[in-house]
């Protein structure tokens, strides 16, 4: 059976050439992918020309050239323009490449498929990622050296990633953006054009990454099959290792794909405000704030307290922290809303059960300064916070807290944790800027709610989670029903289960909404 595959091992570089199918085998395997639509003639003519550089260097030197040309083709397909095709009509790349044997293009073997199979690369024997997924191969532990298990696990990740990226929606949007980009008058409005081209670039990047990942999976599968046929133990173990490596990275990619929003990579502010109810509520707010501080620490984020307004007896009335680090906003945005506590209050001498609330707001800090809303100095009122007495030379104080009010929006920010008034002012100003930006983004989102990820209620949302310490012990997310029976671990910042389940659920919800 090995005759149907052509391979070449680049002896020095330990790279592998691409598998090429013998024309004879075509009929045998072609059935698997019977084109549901007739060939597109225009393309059949176009493709070999484009492939030409690839095929000339094909008598394999290294796989690098090949994957390079592969990439070119994919790019062309993805952009959908060069072919005069809409992007959902692509080619099964590996297959078409296999149509060249020993550098001779056999046009008849270049096959095209309709929308169904269009974007799917496949292995030499026609295995696609979807097929792997549908075969329901059992997924075993990572240390079980079984390629089917690895492949199935990876395919499942790919499926999840696509779902989280809202794959179909993404492709449609990409098409729209391509059309937009091709408009001759696009650059009449450079700001709009910049936005379009940035979004196009970002989506294109995501799409290519997934495609490349799928491609890699299939290549490894091909290798393993090949190795088995040729009893090449070394090749088999290498490929198996590569598959395992992929399986591990695919888990990371899954998480990344959850955070596909434009502002997700930003740092953010987390603000906690205590609900009505005095000391018990203030104490709860302090517990919630502490939970986020510890969560930030677990993630290796840099955390700074911007503002903290202590309660009279215990806890805090309000506090704001700044969380610096990649995807801080992407994760923390899942925490927006009201958090409810039920416990026997340590502040109640009668040991009664109390219910308290704390509200959490999360604001992204835009990295792109040009995206900031311009704030007029004259729209600001800056006040010394908690001042008293004659001030000036009369007073020696290390308290230089400043409150800034943005008059048009009523947004207020206070900072008292810096050691100079100047820096307290700068810090409060940064909070004002982030909030004004957020408000503006919300306004924009409402205005063109076409693609932008559904921003959850950006202000103090509704109740999202319940923490019960007595009479039983449980933390339950009211949005996802995710629950944990160990409130202590949650209050010590172990929030990722809640965050990830919410993020996946909200994407699934988006999916359903479509």
């Amino acid at each position: 059976m090995s005759s149907f595959l052509f391979r070449k091992r680049a002896s020095s570089s330990r790279c592998w050439g691409v598998l090429c199918r013998n024309p004879k085998a075509e009929s045998q395997f072609g059935n698997l992918n019977k084109p549901p639509k007739p060939q597109n003639v225009t393309c059949a003519v176009e493709i070999p020309r484009i492939l030409d550089p690839g095929s000339s260097s094909f008598s394999p030197k290294t796989s690098k050239t090949l994957s390079g040309s592969l990439q070119n083709i994919k790019n062309l397909i993805a952009s959908g323009e060069s072919f005069g095709l809409s992007s959902n009509l692509g080619v099964p790349v590996v297959k078409s490449l296999c149509g060249f044997h020993g550098g001779i293009a056999t046009c008849s073997l270049v096959r095209f498929y309709g929308a169904q199979a269009a974007q799917e690369p496949s292995t030499a024997d026609g295995l696609t990622v979807d097929r792997i997924l549908n075969s329901e191969w059992s997924i075993m532990a990572e240390d079980e050296s079984d390629w089917k298990s690895h492949a199935a696990a990876i395919a499942q990740s790919v499926h999840l990633i696509k779902k989280r990226l809202q794959w179909k929606k993404l492709l449609v949007r990409l098409d729209m953006l391509s059309v937009e980009l091709n408009k001759p008058d696009l650059w009449n409005d450079p700001v709009h054009a910049g936005k379009i081209s940035r979004e196009h670039g970002s989506l294109m990047g995501k799409m290519k990454e997934v495609k490349a990942f799928e491609q890699e999976l299939l290549e490894h599968v091909d290798m393993i099959k090949l190795a088995r046929e040729e009893n090449d133990a070394e090749l088999e173990s290498e490929s198996m290792k590569a598959l395992l490596e992929m399986r591990r990275t695919s888990k990371e990619k899954e998480t990344q794909a959850l955070l596909a929003g434009e502002q997700d990579p930003c740092s953010c502010y987390i603000e906690v405000q205590s609900g009505a109810g005095g000391t018990e509520s203030n104490d709860w707010a302090a517990m919630v704030m502490q939970m986020y501080k510890m969560w930030a620490q677990r993630h290796g984020y840099k955390m700074t307290v911007v503002d903290e307004m202590p309660g009279e007896i215990a806890g805090i009335k309000r506090a704001t922290i700044k969380v610096d680090g990649e995807y801080a906003f992407g994760y923390a945005k899942a925490e927006v809303g009201v958090h409810r506590l039920v416990r026997i209050s340590p502040f109640d001498s009668n040991k009664r059960r109390h219910t308290s609330f704390a509200a959490v707001a999360v604001t992204p800090i835009l990295g792109d300064v040009s995206a900031h809303v311009q704030i007029n100095e004259s729209d600001l009122r800056i006040e010394r916070f908690r001042s008293g007495g004659s001030g000036g030379q009369h007073a020696n104080t290390t308290d230089s807290a400043v409150r800034i009010v943005h008059i048009p929006t009523g947004i207020t920010a206070t900072c008292q944790n810096e050691r100079s008034q100047h820096q307290n002012k700068a810090s409060a100003m940064a909070v004002i800027q982030a909030r004004v930006d957020q408000l503006e983004m919300a306004r924009q989102t409402q205005k063109n709610a076409q693609y932008s990820q559904s921003l959850t209620d950006i202000t103090w949302g509704s109740q999202i989670r319940s923490y019960v310490l007595q009479p039983y012990r449980m933390v339950k997310d009211l949005r996802t029903n995710y629950e944990v029976s160990d409130p202590d671990s949650v209050l010590e910042g172990d929030l990722d289960g809640f965050i990830l389940s919410y993020l996946s659920a909200s994407l699934d919800k988006d999916e359903d909404d479509r």
Binding site: G391, G392, Q393, H394, S420
Partner: protein
């Protein structure tokens, strides 16, 4: 006019210390006999000292717990008695003291604590803070002011947050006014050098220069240290002497001058917050019977020291002094000044008087 600044600086870094620290006696800038060899090397602030002391984490924790208890015991007693700090503020200061004094790191996989002062000294310092009400800034030897960290020590007024605004006022004035930005400025009674350094940084590299004067040799040495720390030796020149005395050679040539002179009425001195009244130099606070002695002196000299179009800004005790000064300048120095304004600080107190020489 071109000032040669650098050579002079070194002489001012080792200034003479007159045994009678009276303003009048130091007025003259006449060459005096070689000074007695009293070192005026400024104290190194905590955060700049080498971390040569070590402590176990439990010992450090023990100190911190002790310090917290001490701070908490204060409650609001200081606040009620003289508007001093309450526990919340003291606890924040304690965190900053730890920031400045303790260096925590990982060495060979072990958590390692290094101190910039010995643990014994930390006990002593915090005792001084709470029991003697020694200002926190003297404890750590520095004050964070604007974006600067300025070295301060006893004998030098700790720059106030309100005073930061003077630099903003100058910044606004020199914006787009090359004549002012590239001119010669003066900060009279510079203390730690705060305003002078702030202005020097606002003027930027356009060639503008600042002369900073002070009567106190301690102030001059501390200001010199700060100027050097910010690499501004070529921009800020320090001159020892009272108010306009060291500025005879630049009369009528200043693009601007600013001052935060002593402005507290003498009667109020005894009732001041303990941190101020007991520890800060009276000479930098006491402005005479109605607190206006030095301000009026500055107003009188303003017309002759400033060049036409030159700008001035003074910090004052509040509305009463501001109003008085503006009236004074409008009536007494009729026709010499324009655009006189009173500007409030962030607490809403009328704090600054500004204007231009016609």
């Amino acid at each position: 006019m071109k000032l040669s600044l650098t050579p002079k600086l070194s002489t001012f870094l080792k200034p003479s210390l007159a045994s009678t620290p009276l303003r009048r006696s130091l007025c003259s800038s006449s060459p005096s006999p070689p000074p007695p060899p009293i070192s005026l090397k400024p104290q190194t602030p905590l955060f700049l000292r080498p971390p040569i002391h070590s402590a176990t984490s439990s010992d450090l924790q023990q100190w911190q717990d002790w310090a917290k208890t001490l701070a908490s015991s204060v409650g609001s007693t200081f606040a009620n008695s003289d508007n001093g700090p309450d526990s919340t503020l003291l606890l924040r200061e304690l965190n900053w003291l730890v920031d400045d004094a303790v260096q925590q790191g990982i060495e060979n996989g072990q958590r390692k604590i290094r101190l910039r002062v010995s643990l014994e000294e930390l006990y002593l310092l915090w005792k001084q803070r709470i029991e003697e009400r020694k200002p926190f800034q003297y404890i750590v030897g520095c004050e964070h002011w604007r974006e600067l960290v300025l070295c301060v020590q006893e004998g030098v007024l700790i720059p106030r947050p309100e005073t930061e605004l003077i630099v903003d006022l100058v910044g606004d004035v020199v914006k787009g006014e090359e004549g002012l930005r590239e001119g010669l400025w003066a900060d009279l009674g510079t203390g730690s050098g705060a305003i002078a350094i702030g202005i020097a940084r606002v003027l930027g590299t356009g060639g503008g220069r600042v002369i900073a004067t002070d009567l106190s040799p301690t102030a001059i040495s501390v200001a010199g240290f700060n100027v050097e720390r910010y690499g501004l030796q070529d921009v800020v020149e320090l001159r020892k002497g009272s108010w306009f005395d060291p500025l005879k050679d630049v009369e009528g040539k200043l693009a601007g001058f600013v001052s935060n002179p002593p402005y507290i009425p003498s009667d109020n001195i005894s009732g001041l917050q303990a941190e101020v009244g007991r520890h800060e130099p009276r000479v930098a606070l006491d402005g005479g019977v109605d607190g206006m002695d030095d301000l009026l002196h500055l107003c009188k000299g303003a017309a002759s020291i400033l060049k036409p179009g030159g700008f001035f800004a003074f910090e004052t005790n509040g509305e009463k002094q501001c109003k008085y000064l503006v009236e004074y300048m409008e009536n007494e120095a009729r026709g010499s000044f324009c655009n006189l304004s009173i500007i409030p600080d962030f607490a809403g107190i009328h704090r600054f008087v500004t204007g231009f020489h016609k």
